[in-house]
Each structure stands twice: as structure tokens, then as C-alpha cells.
């Protein structure tokens, strides 16, 4: 990439690349995961990670069975090994709910069970569920951020360029939203809808609710920048020759604040990811068996569960890593470069 935008992105390429890896792995969850998110093995509840090893010249995993169902102890079935196959045909799926396929990057034949990161209480594969969860969290946050950006930018532009009573109305409304602790408002919105809705409905509600809670902060930033740009000569000139408000916004104001918007977008995404995870963690978001980063973490809420399957805490670590990467990205975009030019 060239020019100013290219420079910013070059500076931030490391966090950007890792985030892209996360996003793409989530996108191809069906292919990268050996099992569906709801594929259960009740006999292998809380089985720890068992890594494949080279055995009689091939990559194989041992077949495990439970030896103590109370303490979740497992033993290897003697002499029983199953080979790990690559680019193989396994459980059928529809990629993104559309394209029908059976292709997986790797799989093993039953009775063997791949357990890269461990299994949960129903014997579902954590690795597979994390991939699906990452996709869900990313897609939901991105749509919520986009929605809140649409509303926030529009409200900020109208308030900043319109001025007068409309400015007062929008900014006071924004203040109302910012005066309510965000989690309280999210819970209030959730309370309006009955419990036990389908996953699609809950997803839509969560997207709407997160956007509803998040637009005000952005509107304030946009309003401030728009107000100062409004005084610039090129805007006044455009106004004088009779360009419409839409023209002024699209041609003169938005392009000049695109950099602020980019940074604001980057630093607001973590809030949405944590918001989604938090709601699902509390059981107000997507419900079982559908995985999100938050409700996988919710499975390890009790001390016994944490002791039996500490690997379930990995979903929290994934949230932390994604948030760190977004914060790093935001910082890299903001900080001045080596020549001292402010970002």
C-alpha cells in the first residue's frame, strides 16, 4: 500500500497480521475444526489434551477411555491407536450455513477422538468450539461496531454541522446514554425481551443493544471534529457555492476526519468484543450449544469445573489476546512515527 494510509498500516502490520489470522481461522472454522461445535462424546467428559505422536511410522493418537468418571481420569486403551488423516472427509457441514462439504483439515476415525486443547463437560472439542466462537464474536462485534458507527457518525455530523437546538438535542441524548453504566443499560435492554429466544434472535438483539449503547461516545468525537472542520475555508466555500449538506459531509468533512474515524474504530472494537463476551458469560447472550468466547468461559465458572478442566479458561486467554492486539493496533496507528510527525 502506498501513501499516508499505507504508512499507517505498515507501522501496524504485526498486530494486523495476527488479527487477520484469527479472523480467517474463525471464518474457516468448519474446515479447521475436526468436529462440529455441538458434536458430543459423553463418555469422554473433561478429557485433557492428548497430542498426536509418531507411532509405528505414522502420526497417530491413542484411543482413550475413562478410568475414573468422578475424578475424570483417563487411560490409554493398550495397543489401540488411530491415524491422523489430513484433508480428509469427516462430519458433514455447511460452510457459513451455505456450502455443503465434508472436507476437514485433519480428522481421526472414531473411536479415536482428537483433543488438541481438551474437551468440555459434554466431551465437545474445545479447539473446534473456540474456532466457531472466534468467528461468532468477530462477526457480531464487527456488525455491532458498524451499526454503532453508522448511527454515531451520522449523529455527530448532524450535531456538529447543524448546531443550534438539533446539536443540543443530540448531545443531551448522548449524555443520557453515557450517564448509564454500560452493563446496566445492556441488561436493561436485554430485560425487555423474553428469555429463551432463538440464537438468531439473540444475536440480532445483542448487535442492536451493543450499538445502542456504544454510539454516543463516537458521536461526541465526530461532532468535535466536524465543528472545527466547519470553520475551514474549503467548507465555507463549498457552502457558499451551494453544495448540499450530503455533499459537504461526503466530500469535505468525512474524508478529512477519516483518520480519526479509523483510530476510533480500532479502539472501540475491543469494547464490543468484551461486551459480547460479557453478556454471553452472564447467560444473557447466545446460549448453548452455540459457542461464543464468553459462554465457553462461563462453562468454567465453578471451582470444581476449573479444577477438572483448566483448559476451558483458554477462551478467556483468547479474548485477552484479541483485545491486546486491537489495543496495540490502536496505539501503533496513533503514535507519531520516527520523524516525529503526529499520527
Amino acid at each position: 500500500m502506498k501513501g499516508r494510509t499505507g504508512k499507517y498500516f505498515r507501522r501496524a502490520r504485526l498486530p494486523l497480521a495476527i488479527l487477520a489470522i484469527f479472523f480467517v481461522s474463525g471464518l474457516f472454522a468448519e474446515f479447521l475444526a475436526p468436529y462440529r461445535y455441538d458434536s458430543v462424546r459423553f463418555d469422554l467428559s473433561y478429557m485433557p489434551p492428548v497430542w498426536p505422536s509418531v507411532h509405528s511410522g505414522r502420526l497417530e493418537v491413542p484411543v482413550m477411555s475413562v478410568s475414573d468418571p468422578i475424578l475424570h481420569r483417563f487411560r490409554q486403551n493398550s495397543g489401540q491407536w488411530v491415524p491422523v488423516r489430513f484433508l480428509c472427509r469427516g462430519e458433514g457441514y455447511r460452510w457459513m450455513g451455505v456450502i455443503r462439504s465434508r472436507l476437514h483439515l485433519f480428522c481421526v476415525d472414531s473411536p479415536g477422538r482428537l483433543s488438541i486443547l481438551g474437551l468440555d463437560v459434554f466431551g465437545r472439542d474445545l479447539w473446534s468450539r473456540l474456532l466457531y466462537g472466534i468467528r461468532f464474536s468477530f462477526l457480531l462485534s464487527i456488525s455491532a461496531v458498524s451499526l454503532s458507527f453508522l448511527v454515531g457518525v451520522l449523529a455527530g455530523l448532524v450535531a456538529g454541522t447543524g448546531g443550534g437546538w438539533i446539536d443540543q438535542l443530540i448531545m443531551r441524548t448522548g449524555e443520557v446514554f453515557m450517564a448509564i453504566p454500560s452493563l446496566y443499560l445492556l441488561m436493561g435492554i436485554r430485560a425487555v425481551f423474553p428469555p429463551g429466544l432463538s440464537t438468531t434472535e439473540v444475536t440480532l438483539i445483542m448487535t442492536g443493544a451493543l450499538a445502542f449503547v456504544g454510539w454516543a461516545g463516537l458521536a461526541r468525537v465526530v461532532r468535535g471534529v466536524a465543528r472545527s472542520l466547519r470553520q475551514e475555508e474549503f467548507v465555507l466555500a463549498a457552502q457558499a457555492v451551494g453544495v448540499s449538506w450530503w455533499g459537504i459531509w461526503g466530500r469535505h468533512i468525512l474524508p478529512n476526519m477519516s483518520y480519526y474515524l479509523l483510530v476510533a474504530l480500532t479502539i472501540s472494537i475491543p469494547g464490543f468484543i468484551v461486551g459480547e463476551a460479557g453478556l454471553s458469560f452472564l447467560g444473557l447472550g447466545v446460549s448453548e450449544p452455540h459457542p461464543s468466547l464468553g459462554n465457553i468461559l462461563a462453562e468454567s465458572q465453578s471451582l470444581p469445573a476449573m479444577k477438572a478442566a483448566p483448559w476451558l479458561l483458554l477462551s478467556g486467554a483468547v479474548i485477552v489476546i484479541i483485545v491486546v492486539l486491537f489495543n496495540l493496533l490502536g496505539d501503533r496507528l496513533r503514535e507519531p512515527d520516527q520523524n516525529g510527525n503526529a499520527g
Binding site: V176, S182, L185
Partner: protein, 324 residues
């Protein structure tokens, strides 16, 4: 000066009525009302339902219902909780002190950690202390409070140093005085520390950049040239001048802290507002939910007022209306 106070008060009233309107709108948008369950009962005739609707004013137009409700709220009547069978206001008053205790302790802890560390860390920018504290503050910003709380539970389970669940243990509820106070602090320690660690990062980064700015000012160089001791430099020159941005963001900080406190309360079973709200949402106890929203916003607004007052005391510039 009086003008500024009046304008602020007017804003406060506007924002408060906005919050009231928003929460009323949410109650109104929810499907059905407290009579709909009764209406489904075949033994209750439609006439009785109609009479009750008139009695409770549910047949009035929307804006009149809102005005009625607002009048009731101003009289301290927030409605009735159907899951606890208690007036909402009574429930809120039993929970607010515990949430406030948790939040205030966390504020004291996080400020008490972040400010001295920032003053010391920023006196050698990019030194080992500054680097490790910056890395730590990165982590603190990025770890969601509910995850940190889970790790806290794990710590408590592994070491047995902290009790988990509730604000008091069974045995000490009756015993007042010193033993009871100690028990409360013992229960409070881990939740408050969790919350404080979560807000440490933002405070440290802010205070650090503020300290760095003060250090580059001529008056600081002059004070140094006069040969004042490190202690006086830090306390009288750095700390007092660098504190303003921290006080300014206190309001925003408090919002995050209240939300974070709700998560922490749920994981540690601390009987505060957050747990009450979650239970209310789960049982569709709408009036309790809205009461919770009102109480949460009120705490936030009061915190903001407090921060403004503190800034007024700390910074003479705000008193002359230069920035106000």
C-alpha cells in the same frame, strides 16, 4: 460562578429526566405488563382486567403514563419487585451500600497503586520499572473483569487465603465490632483487588503521561535547579500538578468501574447491585431492572459531580472560569 453551578444543575436535571424517560420507554416496550398474566387466566373476566387497567392508569396515553411514573419516582416509589415481593426502593437500599463499598475500595486501591507507581516510573522513562509497569498496564487494560475474577477464584481455591461468596461468613453475621469488620474486609479484599487491578492500567498510563508533561515544564526545571529534595519534588511539584487529568477522567472511569463491579459481584457472589440486576433480568422483573438502572446512573452522576468539585478545589484555573 453561580451561573456555572446553575448550568450544571440544569444539565443534571435534563440528563436525569432523559434517563427516566429511557427506562420508562424500555418498560413500555417490553411485551405485556403485569396484568397480562392475569388476563390469560380464564377465571378473571375481561371486565375486571379493564377496571384494573383504569385503576393503574394503563389505559391512559403514553405521555400521561410517563408523567405519572415520573411523579411516583420523585416520591421514591419505584414500583414493586414481583420476584422478591418487596418494594424496589427497599431492595435497592439494601444493595447499594455493598456496591459502593466495593467500588470505593477499588478506587482507593487503584489510585493508591497507580499514582505513586506513575510518579516513580515516569521519573526514569523507559527504565526497567517504567517498562514493566507499562507492560502490566497493557495487560490490565486488556483483561476483562470477569476473566480476572475467575482467575481470582482460582487463586482463592488454590491457596485458601480468601473466602469466596457473600460479604460476610455465616458465623460472624451476628458478631459486630472488630471481628465482624475484619470478616467483611476479608471478604472484600479479593473482589476489590480484582476491580482495582482492572482499572490500574488506564490510570497508570494517564498519570504517567501527565507526570512526563509536568517534568518538561520550566517551573519543574526551576524547582530542580533550586536543589529541592526528590521527595518534595515528587509530592509538591509532580503529584499535585499531574493529578488533574486523573480527576477529570474519574467520571468516565467510574462508569467502567460500576459495570466491572457488576461482573465481579456475579463471579464472587458479592451481594451488590450487579447481582440484583442480573437476577431481575433473568426473572423479567422489569421495575427492579429499571430501578437498578436509575440507581447505577445516579451513582455515576454523583461521582461526576464529586470529580468536578474536586477539580474545582485542586485547580485554581477552573475557579476563574477559564476552562469551565
Amino acid at each position: 460562578m453561580i451561573r456555572i453551578v446553575l448550568i450544571r444543575l440544569f444539565h443534571l436535571v435534563v440528563v436525569l429526566s432523559g434517563i427516566l424517560f429511557l427506562s420508562f420507554l424500555l418498560i413500555h416496550l417490553a411485551p405485556g405488563n403485569f396484568l397480562s398474566q392475569m388476563a390469560m387466566n380464564p377465571q378473571v373476566s375481561p371486565d375486571i382486567i379493564r377496571q384494573m387497567k383504569t385503576l393503574y392508569g394503563l389505559d391512559k396515553p403514553f405521555y400521561l403514563q410517563f408523567l405519572d411514573w415520573m411523579a411516583a419516582v420523585l416520591h421514591g416509589n419505584l414500583g414493586y419487585s414481583f420476584s422478591y415481593h418487596l418494594p424496589v426502593i427497599q431492595l435497592l437500599f439494601s444493595r447499594i451500600p455493598l456496591t459502593l463499598l466495593l467500588t470505593v475500595t477499588a478506587v482507593l486501591l487503584s489510585w493508591g497503586m497507580a499514582i505513586p507507581f506513575a510518579v516513580v516510573g515516569a521519573s526514569r522513562p523507559d527504565g526497567w520499572l517504567d517498562r514493566s509497569l507499562t507492560a502490566f498496564s497493557y495487560l490490565s487494560i486488556s483483561v476483562p473483569s470477569f476473566f480476572l475474577a475467575l482467575l481470582g477464584v482460582l487463586l482463592a481455591g488454590a491457596t485458601g487465603w480468601f473466602p469466596i461468596g457473600g460479604a460476610r461468613s455465616e458465623a460472624s453475621v451476628s458478631s459486630g465490632g472488630f471481628a465482624g469488620g475484619f470478616d467483611l474486609i476479608h471478604h472484600l479484599a479479593l473482589p476489590a483487588l480484582t476491580l482495582a487491578l482492572g482499572s490500574f492500567g488506564v490510570l497508570y498510563r494517564l498519570m504517567r503521561s501527565s507526570v512526563l508533561e509536568v517534568r518538561s515544564k520550566p517551573f519543574f526545571a526551576a524547582a530542580r535547579a533550586r536543589g529541592l529534595s526528590q521527595w518534595i519534588l515528587r509530592v509538591r511539584y509532580l503529584f499535585r500538578n499531574a493529578l488533574n487529568p486523573l480527576v477529570t477522567v474519574f467520571g468516565m472511569e467510574l462508569g467502567g468501574l460500576l459495570s466491572g463491579a457488576a461482573f465481579v459481584e456475579m463471579v464472587y457472589a458479592w451481594p451488590g447491585m450487579g447481582r440484583l440486576m442480573l437476577h431481575a433480568v433473568m426473572t423479567e422483573d422489569l421495575y427492579l431492572v429499571m430501578g437498578g438502572i436509575l440507581a447505577g446512573s445516579l451513582m455515576l452522576l454523583l461521582g461526576n459531580l464529586l470529580a468536578d468539585a474536586a477539580l474545582y478545589l485542586l485547580d485554581p484555573r477552573t475557579r476563574e472560569g477559564v476552562t469551565g
